[in-house]
């Protein structure tokens, strides 16, 4: 629990207090728990301030205490409210707007608290759900009215139910980027690319001037500061400037021409992306738009027969299911698949051109570009693969090295302790060095090595790549350790030092 949550909860209680103030006149009792609660709050915060200067979340006990206080109060208040409501018959028949608002507030607060516990990436999904839910709760009375009165023609429905709200909800479900008016979006995109090209035309000289100007201004300003921090920063900046200056001029005419070309290409692939997207969105929205009218028409028929009105929950869940079916049906068409792939391809192409453009702009700068990093990644992967092949070859060679005939099926335990000792020799009788002196060997590994019969620096000093590979097989948990820390060299160093002493 953190400070933010508490704040939110606090807001809710405040809103609640406001919304129940109206009941004060109806029941004297209703004001008492309120007063008591405020007093409790005051005492708590006074106490809390003395105990902590940081976040309340850092004090789990306090946070818990606060939480309990709210929970207890809420229960108490509910009992009181229940009593008050049953005592006032007029309230038992028709919900007042105040109560409706109160219920809605409760729900909103509750939804917020719940949302805050969801992983961040999923919160938008929850919000979309709530939006759709709200769209239906706020329209439910209208929908019922239309069903009762037979106003179930799509035209009439979309006058009462805001089509923009529908498009927004479905768009979010499908991950659409909102696109209200394709002509307008196209015009804006064209304008945007024209501006970019205009900027690129004067980009390079201007960038240089700007950097130098800013440099100058910052130097002047920081020289006037007395704080040690600014001269320090300034010295860093000076070093950077000196290092970067030679590169101000290398992004010359050729790059500029390429950047301008990229922008033109990007403009078209982006327009293609917009147009394919618009087509895709329309297909889905059109398919889903049939659902509400047809549900309302069915509800109308059943209402005509036996005056039966579906419950809100039934209607809402049914809507979600049928909307999904309608969309999925569209997604199964060949046209949808083709269009979706066009959207993906044109979007991806725009992104590729953009990356290439940045690559061009930065190619001569003294830091690694994406392409160079890619080369490095490729090298790394190839090296790992090569290493794996070598390991396999060493593994296959090991039995032969030891004079053990190779079995037809590879056996996992071909390397034996004896084979290792054959290569590095036995330790002198009673001779046991502290192997932990070797970097990378801890107590556990020392014990395992002792079990093999390795107890001296002299033995370690005789190790080579073949022995390392055998050790790896014998003690797989520490695979690669011997090679990595080069035990043999370390042991030789220790032997040298020891002989000097």
């Amino acid at each position: 629990m953190n400070w933010m949550d508490l704040n939110k909860t606090g807001d809710f209680w405040k809103a609640w207090q406001d919304s129940v103030k109206g009941f004060a006149g109806q029941s004297q009792a209703s004001t008492d728990p309120m007063k008591e609660w405020w007093n409790q709050q005051e005492r708590f915060w006074k106490d809390a301030m003395e105990k902590t200067t940081g976040m309340l979340g850092n004090q789990p006990d306090l946070a818990r205490q606060w939480q309990d206080m709210q929970g207890n109060f809420m229960k108490q208040w509910m009992d009181m409210a229940q009593q008050a409501m049953t005592k006032t018959p007029s309230m038992g028949t028709e919900p007042s707007d105040m109560w409706k608002q109160f219920a809605r507030q409760t729900e909103t607060w509750y939804a917020d608290a719940f949302k805050n516990k969801l992983p961040e990436q999923l919160r938008p999904h929850f919000q979309t759900y709530m939006d759709m839910y709200k769209m239906f709760t706020t329209q439910w009375e209208n929908i019922q009215g239309m069903i009762k009165n037979g106003l179930v023609e799509p035209k009439v429905i979309w006058q009462m139910v805001n089509p923009a709200q529908y498009a927004d909800a479905v768009g979010k479900v499908m991950g659409f980027k909102p696109m209200k008016d394709l002509d307008e979006v196209t015009r804006q995109a064209n304008q945007f690319f024209e501006q970019l090209r205009a900027a690129a035309l004067k980009m390079f000289p201007a960038a240089e001037e700007q950097v130098l100007e800013m440099n100058e201004a910052f130097t002047n300003w920081s020289n006037q500061q007395t704080d040690q921090f600014f001269p320090f920063m300034n010295s860093i900046k000076e070093v950077m400037k000196q290092n970067l200056e030679p590169y101000f001029h290398v992004t010359g005419d050729e790059t500029q021409a390429e950047v301008l070309r990229s922008l033109k290409e990007m403009q078209f692939s982006y327009l293609a992306y917009l147009h394919h997207s618009a087509k895709l969105q329309k297909m889905v929205l059109d398919a889903g738009a049939q659902v509400l009218p047809s549900m309302m028409q069915e509800a109308r028929e059943s209402y005509n027969k036996d005056h039966d009105m579906p419950s809100f929950d039934t209607f809402f869940t049914d809507y979600m299911n049928r909307l999904e079916n309608a969309i999925v049906e569209t997604m199964h068409t060949e046209e949808y698949t083709v269009t979706q792939n066009q959207v993906l391809a044109s979007g991806a192409k725009s992104k590729m051109i953009y990356d290439e453009m940045l690559e061009n702009i930065f190619k001569d700068w003294p830091f690694m570009t994406k392409r160079e990093a890619d080369d490095l990644a490729k090298e790394t992967t190839l090296l790992r693969r090569r290493m794996r092949e070598l390991e396999a070859r060493i593994g296959a060679m090991t039995p032969e090295v030891n004079g053990v005939s190779k079995k037809s099926a590879p056996s996992p335990q071909v390397v034996s302790s004896d084979a290792v000792i054959n290569l590095i020799g036995k330790a002198e009788k009673g001779k046991s060095d502290d192997l932990k002196e070797i970097k990378g060997i801890g107590e556990k590994l020392e014990n395992l090595l002792n079990e093999i019969g390795i107890t001296s620096y002299k033995q370690l000093a005789k190790m080579d790549a073949t022995v390392y590979a055998m050790i790896d097989d014998l003690i797989p948990a520490f695979k690669g350790r011997a090679m990595r820390d080069d035990w043999a060299s370390q042991a030789r160093e220790l032997l040298k030092t020891n002989s000097l002493v």
Binding site: A63, A113, F114, H125, L376, A477
Partner: protein, 348 residues
Amino acid sequence: MANWTDNIVEKVNTAADAIKNIGDINEVDVATAPREVVWEDGKVKLFHFTRNEKPKAKTPVIISYALVNRWAMMDLQPDRSFIRKLISEGIDVYVIDWGYPTRTDRYKSMEDYILGDLNNCVDYVRNAHGIEKVNLLGVCQGGTFSLIYSALNPDKIKNLITLVTPVEFADNDGLLFKWSREMDVDTMVESFGGLIPGDFLNFGFDLLKPMNKMRKYYGFNDVAKDKASLMNFLRMEKWVSDSPAQAGETYRKFIKDLYQQNKLAEGTFELGGQIVDLKKISMPVLTIYAKDDHIVPPDSTRPINDLIGSKDKELMEFPGGHIGVFVGSRSQKMLTTAVAQWLVDRDK
């Protein structure tokens, strides 16, 4: 509308419980079964789960999960954990954690995963237990990896289990399959800078049932008023949103060779210079699929049984979808017990 008072009272009472429940939750824990890292290379780790009693089956099982999403699905909540249950049924369990690839891994290929990491993990367990063969259990994409590996190394695998594993990519009506068939995968890989974001992959799965990601919130207030169900809901949410990116080269080959050209089923799939012939799979194989799987439809899984060369082979159907098969209470109880029993029976 007569009981509107009750409705509001109910709502506020629910909210009162929820204040405590929601406020009490500081951390959502998944994958809590005790374990230790026994092997690691780069971002890949092999976990061995701690156990108190001697296993019933002496051959341990290695779980190879998909690269998409995380193996935590197999140990989502303490009381419904595939892994914990497997352990308590007497199986010694290892799981490969593929890690979270970054741009450094963009060229990491299926060859590196299967002939490198998977093979190294298998060799580690063989060595550690002093045995020739281990059991392999693959889930979804990890199952496809396991099939390929077992076909290339039949001498290292004692028993193979595939769960919701696609092998037949051509002959089914799944949307994911349909879309992937016509996708320009080269452009996608290139534009993503060689690393396919987890969000993009998740988005694809979400689209198959677009309302699912919202529908689950229906009735969230009932979920939250009970602390245990709230925790389990949040655990699933945590798992869903925990989606590693996928190395571009691996994705490219998986889509091109499998989704688009169905090479594995047709016997033309090549890895590390070798053609993968599923008929070379001769060990006992258990193929498990979920009846209502819309991500890997049964039609793409069941053919495993016809494509392999094993004599001892079995198909099992369980209720639920691609994920539900692991966490649904009914199927989970039956599923894990069946898997454990099948392994114990073949442990001679």
